[in-house]
């Protein structure tokens, strides 16, 4: 007795199944990014892509390589812990090309952002009612922003 009598349809079905599996594997290899699964269920290359975004804030260490004089003035005063770009804004472009003018911050807006009086602020943080304190005179008339204590030399 022949064991696989009339078994042709099974082989045909197996062939179709094999073909389907192979084409699935081929398509999958083509469309799934290679780094998918490198670290987990995601595209590993995405990490390097996100890390390659451009930097806008140069960081105070970069500023201080050129502006060491201001860093020194600042380190002696109350603003020692305030980083350059906290007031001057993002200046990576200026750091890359010093000919780009960083511009001066507008003290009328800048100082009161932190120092306008509000009971919501920590009690030990220096705050003033700007109108009463100076009557509209720019803060920099008396305070040198890099070391704001008036005894330290006043405006420069």
């Amino acid at each position: 007795m022949k064991l696989f009598k009339d078994a042709g349809h099974l082989f045909r079905l197996a062939g179709v199944f094999l073909l389907g599996t192979l084409s699935f594997l081929a398509i999958r290899a083509f469309v799934v990014p290679h780094s998918f699964g490198q670290y987990g269920h995601y595209r590993g290359a995405a990490i390097a892509e996100i890390a390659a975004h451009p930097v806008h804030f140069a960081g105070h260490q970069t500023c201080e390589t050129c502006h060491s004089d201001i860093a020194q003035t600042k380190s002696a005063g109350k603003h020692a812990q305030v980083n350059c770009e906290a007031c001057h804004g993002p200046l990576a472009k200026h750091a890359d090309d010093p000919s780009i003018d960083p511009g001066k911050p507008d003290v009328a807006v800048l100082c009161v952002r932190c120092h306008s009086a509000s009971a919501a602020r920590p009690k030990d943080f220096p705050q003033v009612d700007a109108d009463q304190h100076s009557g509209g005179i720019p803060c920099t008339t008396c305070h040198q922003p890099h070391n704001p204590v008036i005894a330290a030399g006043g405006a420069k």
């Binding site: 990014p33 290679h34 780094s35 995601y42 996100i50 932190c114 919501a120 602020r121």
Partner: protein, 244 residues
């Protein structure tokens, strides 16, 4: 131009090679950075926050965050003695331009709470992504692969802290990357760089020399919504119990 069978046979492998390079992605951009040596988080010192909004502006400038959307924002809490469980919270334009001033001797207490992605170690948002477009990187930062994201917004709903949004023009999920492009280059985040009082500090929990370890030993810190067991890595010092 007529493409003969011969031309096609030559062109096909070339196209395959080109597609291969697309799939491979861009090469490593920070050669001196080893992901497995870091585990990033942040420390927020509530008593130091003055609500100036510097962090919000810095984040928007650094990451091109669209107007009206926030990767970080500052909330101002007003808690009355007789309403401890129902604080009044405001965050006008994310606190970007500061807050209205409060008169002397107010009723109850006021304080600021800066918020951002908590970069949870067991984050709910990455677990719901149907395509693997959002993930926790080996150094503990929750990131979005915007080339892979479908914009289905499951993750936006899943985040218990409201830290995600759908980008209005890219139509994909967007969120705080903990300035991944900066921390991998040895810089601190834009918000920490711009914070004038040091209320925000980037923390590398795998670095034994990081001051975070001394701080955590000597202070009572909290995370937001600890009952959700998200493994949040943004630690708050001096956080009021009314903060949600």
């Amino acid at each position: 131009m007529n493409i003969t069978r011969r031309h096609l046979l030559i062109l096909l492998p070339a196209a395959a090679v080109a597609w291969e390079s697309v799939l491979a992605g861009t090469p490593e951009s920070s050669p001196n950075y080893t992901m497995t040596e870091h585990w990033w988080g942040m420390l927020i010192d509530i008593p130091k926050c003055i609500g100036c909004g510097n962090c919000v502006r810095a984040c928007q400038a650094e990451n091109d965050v669209p107007d009206g959307f926030f990767r970080t924002w500052v909330e101002r809490y007003h808690v009355n003695d007789w309403q401890l469980a129902n604080p009044q919270v405001i965050s006008p334009d994310g606190g970007k331009e500061g807050f209205p001033s409060v008169a002397e001797d107010p009723e109850g207490k006021y304080f600021f709470v800066p918020k951002l992605c908590n970069h949870c170690a067991d984050s709910p948002c990455t677990q719901v992504c149907p395509v693997g477009a959002t993930f926790i990187s080996p150094d503990g930062v929750v990131l979005v692969d915007q080339k892979y994201c479908l914009g289905c917004a499951y993750c936006v709903q899943a985040c218990p802290y409201g830290c995600r949004y759908i980008h209005p023009t890219k139509k994909v999920a967007d969120k705080c990357t903990l300035c991944y492009h900066r921390i991998t280059k040895g810089l601190t985040t834009a918000c920490c760089e711009a914070c004038p009082t040091g209320a925000r500090q980037l923390a590398d929990l795998k670095n034994p020399a990081d001051p975070i370890h001394a701080f955590l030993k000597t202070h009572s810190v909290q995370v937001l919504k600890p009952q959700m067991a998200t493994g949040a890595k943004v630690f708050y010092n001096g956080l009021d119990g009314s903060v949600r």
